[in-house]
């Protein structure tokens, strides 16, 4: 009798589990695609001169406090992104640092701020929808009024981007939100707006990707032009230049002047657009002469961790089918066994 029940229980549980597993292919969650209108940044380490104007502009645009790392607190000196700093420029250096953008005996600059992943771990991790990805622009936003402060996003992000204000009794997450609060005034990301060399460029990701590919195709030393500020697609610019395109500025809500251009010389690039494939893609793309791992960016697979995690969750819990089936089986068995005990008139609980 005992043994029979044991087998029955195992069988019922097994069947329910199998039912859950069988729904697996339907529940597999692929890495999300890039929203067609996604906006982002192109950071070109070769063009960056390390002036940190973007760091200052970011603080001003987002109302962030200064952060000190020197003994005499003369000026804002953040060493990394933090609860007080959403964007920093860091230096890579090696040996005698005699040449820029060279791995050995060289140096390079690198931007650190939110990558605005196409399929962000933070959004998938957040239990209360405080982290969201805008369906149109793809900007990854944070809502402190929803946030419970569990810091699963901080732990999950492979770039170490969301930061937390541990020292406050009313803490919150800090991360770049691509200056979305400035979009309604027709403005764009402050870091790109002030960048003097166009090392940080704002625009649609599709346009930025084209620009990145154009730079990679140049021969080192070749004369070229670099845009600065807000890079727009050729057809948008054409409309704007045409007499009938007058209203285009208003229709698009542009208040800015768009991309300015200046003549320059192509540098030595690695043939790699970081963020094009990594982790299912990011809306910040990067070019560099030095390996990205040396600059502190991880070598990530093309599949996002969010896709893996959600595939697992949907397989086990999709439509609550497996839990309800298992609960049904357990209820049936428990009812039988508890009754059995009652029948013997025992004290039980």
């Amino acid at each position: 009798m005992d043994r029979r029940t044991f087998f029955k229980a195992s069988l019922a549980g097994g069947t329910a589990l199998a039912a859950g597993a069988a729904s697996c292919p339907a529940q597999a969650r692929e890495t999300h695609p890039m929203p067609p209108e996604a906006v982002g940044l192109l950071f070109d380490s070769v063009l960056c001169v390390g002036c940190k104007a973007c760091v200052a502009a970011c603080k001003q645009a987002n109302g962030m406090p200064m952060e000190f790392s020197t003994k005499d607190q003369y000026w804002d000196t953040p060493l990394d992104i933090s609860g007080k700093t959403l964007n920093v420029i860091k230096a890579y250096r090696n040996g005698n640092m005699e040449a820029k953008d060279r791995e050995e005996n060289g140096f390079a600059f690198i931007k650190k701020s939110c990558m605005h992943c196409v399929d962000p771990s933070c959004v998938s991790a957040c239990p209360v929808s405080a982290m969201q990805k805008d369906a149109k622009t793809g900007v990854v936003t944070y809502d402190k009024d929803a946030c419970i402060g569990c810091r699963y996003c901080v732990a999950a992000c492979p770039f170490g981007v969301p930061r937390f204000t541990y020292d406050s009794p009313t803490p919150q997450i800090s991360k770049c939100q691509l200056c979305i609060h400035r979009h309604k005034d027709g403005k764009y990301a402050a870091c790109a707006e002030v960048c003097p060399t166009g090392a940080t460029l704002y625009g649609k990701v599709s346009v930025l990707r084209e620009e990145a590919k154009r730079r990679l195709a140049l021969k080192p030393g070749e004369k070229t032009e670099f845009p600065r500020g807000h890079l727009r697609a050729a057809e948008e610019k054409a409309l704007r230049g045409a007499p009938e395109g007058k209203g285009e500025q208003r229709r698009q809500g542009w208040q800015d002047d768009g991309a300015q251009r200046y003549p320059g010389v192509a540098g030595q690039y690695l043939q790699h657009v970081y963020g094009e494939k990594e982790f299912g893609g990011t809306q910040m793309l990067m070019l560099s002469g030095v390996s990205f791992q040396k600059l502190g960016y991880p070598d990530l697979p093309p599949r996002s961790d969010a896709a893996t995690s959600e595939t697992l969750q949907h397989t086990l819990y999709g439509g609550l089918i497996a839990p309800i089936a298992v609960l049904g089986a357990l209820t049936f068995i428990a009812r039988r066994n508890v009754k059995h005990e009652d029948g013997e008139g025992g004290q039980n609980g």
């Binding site: 239990p127 732990a155 004290q347």
Partner: protein, 385 residues
């Protein structure tokens, strides 16, 4: 079937002993620290940082603590699902320990939440984000805490003499028992799934991907058995009662089978992922991995025979090792093997440790209070005094 010779009865006895006073003091210290944390923030009492946003309040209090509180789950699984009635006397004490373990783990999470006043968002449509593993864990643990209080209610109802309420509850109890088996199966596995989204930030020795839920579930049940043996031994010594070895030995046999299965799954996973190589590197991760594995493999040797399992000493030592192994698996996964980049360090502050210690003290204190005043432990003749 069920061995009902000794119905549960209150133990009686004094609540004020040097030991309970110590427990009370430790609990009070933790309370003061937690109050301070509410006014001055997490940074004022913990060593948390952006490289280690989760410390021991999550890794120990919740992930390990709830696994240590799986005795009730493991016993309910055995008695009510696999119909092993002979373990019935173990259900109530195990359930009580689980009840406190979980309730306090749940309460302590509130203090770890930076924006704790928003905690209800997890349960609120519009905020709740069902793709999040954290959502599943939080909802499931909360539900289980409620279910456990209902499951344990008969002990209170007996004491208060509410016969008809108890009878009505008894008619429905089977459903709560089923829920009480389903819910821990879900969230104990999900505690492992929490690590999936950390991807390559978790050392390969612990990043088992899709197998994480199975590994955490198997060890949770294993820990449930080990904790029951541990607690039964301690409470017979502590309350000077007869040892329950006749019931524990066959329980240990089941535990042994599960342990063997777990070790096979764990090693196969490491082999198939090609992760075992990193266990031979000269790293702290490799060192703690071997300690963890030893805690599982040693009982595999020392508890191999029926005779060994009838030895109270061996059984207790084996249970302690398994608890240590389960503890290390979780601490290794969430802290030791969490690699978030250069330059980050974490070791719990004294205040953080004292909160965890105080929490455990409070659990033991509450357990002592309840078993002295409510019918939990089987009424038995005291052992020789």
């Amino acid at each position: 079937m069920a061995n009902h010779t000794h119905a549960p009865a209150p133990l009686g006895g004094s609540l004020f002993t040097p030991f309970t006073l110590l427990l009370g003091t430790l609990s009070a210290i933790a309370g003061v620290i937690l109050l301070y944390r509410l006014f001055y923030g997490l940074g004022a009492v913990t060593n948390l940082n952006d490289g280690y946003p989760w410390g021991i309040w999550i890794a120990y209090d919740v992930v390990v603590g709830s696994a240590f509180a799986c005795g009730g789950y493991a016993m309910a699984l055995l008695v009510y699902i696999f119909n092993k009635g002979q373990y019935h006397p173990l259900v109530r004490p195990a359930l009580l320990a689980s009840l406190f373990g979980y309730t306090l783990a749940g309460a302590s999470v509130i203090f770890d939440l930076g924006r704790w006043w928003n905690f209800w968002h997890i349960f609120w449509p519009g905020y709740a984000q069902v793709n999040s593993v954290m959502f599943e864990v939080a909802v499931c643990i909360s539900a289980y805490i409620v279910v456990m209080w209902i499951e344990f209610a008969p002990a209170f109802l007996e004491k208060w003499g509410l016969k008809d309420v108890r009878q009505k509850l008894n008619k429905l109890l089977f459903f709560f028992i089923a829920l009480g088996v389903l819910l821990p199966s879900m969230h104990q596995s999900s505690l492992g799934s929490l690590l999936v989204i950390f991807g390559e930030q978790i050392h390969p020795l612990w990043q088992s991907g899709m197998l994480l839920p199975l590994i955490y579930l198997m060890t949770a049940i294993l820990l449930g058995f080990a904790v029951v043996i541990f607690e039964a031994t301690l409470s017979s010594t502590g309350f000077r009662r007869q040892l329950e070895t006749p019931v524990l030995a066959p329980l240990a046999k089941l535990m042994y089978g599960l342990l063997a299965a777990y070790v096979v799954v764990r090693v196969l996973d490491l082999l198939l992922r090609g992760a075992l190589g990193s266990a031979f590197a000269a790293t702290w991760q490799a060192f703690w991995f071997w300690v963890e594995m030893a805690c599982f493999v040693v009982p595999l040797a020392t508890l191999a025979t029926d005779r060994a399992r009838r030895s109270a000493g061996r059984l207790f030592a084996g249970a302690v090792l398994l608890m240590l192994g389960g503890f290390l698996l979780r601490i290794n996964g969430f802290l030791v093997g969490y690699m978030t980049g250069e330059g980050w360090h974490y070791f719990p502050s004294l205040a953080e440790l004292m909160v965890t210690v105080g929490l455990i003290a409070f659990e033991i204190l509450a357990y002592i209070y309840i078993v002295r005043n409510y019918p939990v432990l089987p009424a038995a003749q005291p052992a020789t005094r």
